[in-house]
Symmetry: C2
Subunit: 224 residues, 2 copies
DNA sequence: CATGCCGTGTGACTTTGTCACGGAAGAAGA
DNA sequence: TCTTCTTCCGTGACAAAGTCACACGGCATG
């Protein structure tokens, strides 16, 4: 069974209000389809560019990977978002230069490149929405660059933990390796940093878990 | 004496062909003006956003600066280009988050934000041009991020020298500090690296000069 | 219970960044 | 020409971060 765009239209419009201005003649098209993205599927540079993808559900992690295998997460795409790198590839006919990993099973609206360009021309709100997305990521990436180049590791780890516990939880189910991958450093570095945090009583470490995280203590390490 | 937009129109259209579709009623406006940007003038975050700026001449360096004073160059804007971070700020009403330094005396076309948005809506070619610019920088920044995080210093210095000598010159008039600022590292690090290159006979160092650069020898150090 | 994998801890070493100098090249002025 | 000053460069000692090699323990699986 495949999902029908028509059936999901309410959900699509809720997530992407800017698509409201698109008329029924476009929604009826056979080449605008819903696709399911399998979890843990990897997309390398330059693929999938026949379609622009708007994510309805799940999450996709965009990252860079070095020849040595070290990774760094650039950003995540969530339901209601789209991938700016992909957008600019389609619109600028340039290369794409990052990898994507589908973290949670994802559902997406696929729009053929040509049609996507047409929509960008025709629909003002949609265009503005896409532009905002791209701008947001541009700023995000410039801040990431800033962090990598100017901040210390303890500072970045503290910041990461601080963000992850923003919802109130004081425990995270994360391996050191996962954090290293987020921040673009090595697992040993994270292990040592966390260990030193533990010695200061800021948190407690067990296998695959970071518990008893004291957010207020973390603040001491936040930079800027 | 101020320069007249009308008088410079041929030059403007040559540098920005996509502006050709804009009719005379817009070119006659009093609020579209040419401005001269003084060299070494610094622009901090969030300024100048009442106008979108299209550069006709000169160069502007966009960079990040740390609390400690270390800098890293994000990219340069040249004649015929515009600043993507500024564009996205105007279109997305978000913050701007970088500094700019006018390196060479510059001449620019200033368009009020509102009118710029109007042009973006009305003129397809102009819109596509701006989008291409933004995309180009997004990719450039993601590659820079990659370099910072994954490449070695000798690799990055070699790459920098390689690019700077692409025109054929085997001598560069650059201080070590200038290179450090380009790459986002410390002057001492660059000094040591260049010294080691000199010991290998790849180049010759004198005050404010790097001479006898052997491009083919540099290739050994290029990464990827 | 045995096996194997995965996550973690650790020490030794290399690379990069920081700090504090000092010294030399060139510009400017007397 | 000599003096003074600024800018640029070199260096050593140290701190921070990344790399490499390996060991150990928890936990799942058969």
């Amino acid at each position: 069974m495949t999902l029908s765009v028509q059936a999901e239209l309410p959900r699509i419009l809720e997530l992407f209000p800017s698509l409201a201005e698109i008329g029924p003649e476009n929604w009826g098209r056979e080449d605008v389809v819903l696709i399911e993205l399998p979890p843990n599927h990897l997309v390398q540079e330059g693929q999938l560019l026949d379609y622009a993808v708007l994510l309805l559900d799940g999450t996709i992690r965009m990252f860079k990977i070095s020849p040595g295998g070290r990774e760094i997460t650039l950003y995540r795409i969530q339901g209601g978002e789209c991938c700016p790198l992909m957008m600019t590839s389609i619109l600028g006919e340039s290369e794409y230069e990052a990898s994507a990993c589908i973290e949670k099973p994802s559902l997406a609206l696929a729009i053929p490149s040509g049609l996507f360009r047409e929509w960008m021309d025709r629909y003002r709100g949609f265009r503005q929405y896409i532009f905002k997305m791209v701008g947001k990521r541009l700023i995000l990436m410039s801040n990431l660059l800033d962090s990598i180049n100017f901040k210390t590791i303890p500072g970045r780890v503290a910041e990461f933990l601080y963000e992850q516990t923003a919802s109130g939880a004081d425990t995270l189910a994360l391996t050191h390796d996962a954090i290293a991958t987020e921040l673009g450093t090595a697992r040993e570095v994270i292990s040592r940093t966390l260990k030193s945090f533990e010695k200061e009583g800021i948190l407690a470490l067990t296998r695959g878990r970071i518990a008893e995280i004291k957010r207020d203590e973390l603040e001491r390490y936040l930079e800027y």
